[in-house]
Amino acid sequence: MVSHQELQVQEKREVEKKEETTIPARVFVPATDIFETDQALTVVLEMPGVDKESVSASVENDILTIEGRIDFSKYEGLQPVYTEYNIGHYARSFQISSTIEQGKIAADMKDGVMTLVLPKAEKAKPRKISVG
């Protein structure tokens, strides 16, 4: 589905850190879509400039954490003359329910967009209840 709406610029959001890092470099929040089907929860994150070797996703204590690192060595020798956005690594985490089969999470990365499919555990799938 392509809407013919004109695209608007979304200001890149910065991660609000609980702890300060020693290096004051900025980290950005990837724009994310999350949707649920009967089978799985799917998380789609936009991280332009991140290839599939530079991204990591982990689940610990029901927290899904995604980190993406850009290869900024590509900018070596480039002198900025006019800019409208800044660049940096990406990070985001979500609280997920324990009804996810954590061992079966699948990830895919294409055109700077990461898709994570988190399958639901058998007991968490919806059941139709028949009225007797």
Binding site: Q5, P48, P80, H89
Partner: protein
């Protein structure tokens, strides 16, 4: 100029500062930039030439079009997001639609020498400066 890349953490911070310092600078001249239009652009100088970089995550290469005429570059395309219609949305932050942006750079360029590369959701357009525009060193007699 972005300093040395010896320390990667310091280098990233230095680059972020360098990008901030040029935020909406007047290099483009008046009214040609279309600031605020999608997609946002960054323009760099590499020796005599220009490199324009845009973030276009999730756009198929075939849905991107780049045209060049005189000193104007036009970048247009469409971004499609397809999800299962039966899915229930929890969060919707990504946007889809069409875009069309024209950028006029304040130098003479060589439209035939323009090269573009799209990788990992980032479009880089390499724009060579026109031969007649390149600075020449004038020997002193």
């Amino acid at each position: 100029m972005i300093p040395s890349f010896g320390d990667p953490f310091e280098a990233l911070f230095a680059m972020q500062r360098a990008l901030d310092a040029r935020l909406a600078s007047d290099w483009m001249g008046r009214g040609t930039a279309g600031t605020g239009a999608y997609p946002p652009i960054n323009i760099f100088q590499k020796e005599d030439d220009l490199v324009v970089i845009l973030e276009l995550p999730g756009i198929a290469k075939k849905d991107l079009e780049i045209q060049a005429k005189e000193n104007t570059i036009r970048i247009s395309g469409r971004k499609a997001i397809n999800y299962d219609e039966r899915a229930s949305m929890h969060r919707r932050e990504r946007v889809s639609g069409v875009f069309d942006r024209t950028v006029s750079v304040p130098i003479q360029i060589d439209p035939n020498g323009i090269k573009a590369e799209y990788r990992d959701g980032v479009l880089a357009i390499f724009i060579p400066r026109a031969e007649g525009e390149k600075p020449r060193t004038i020997p002193i007699k």
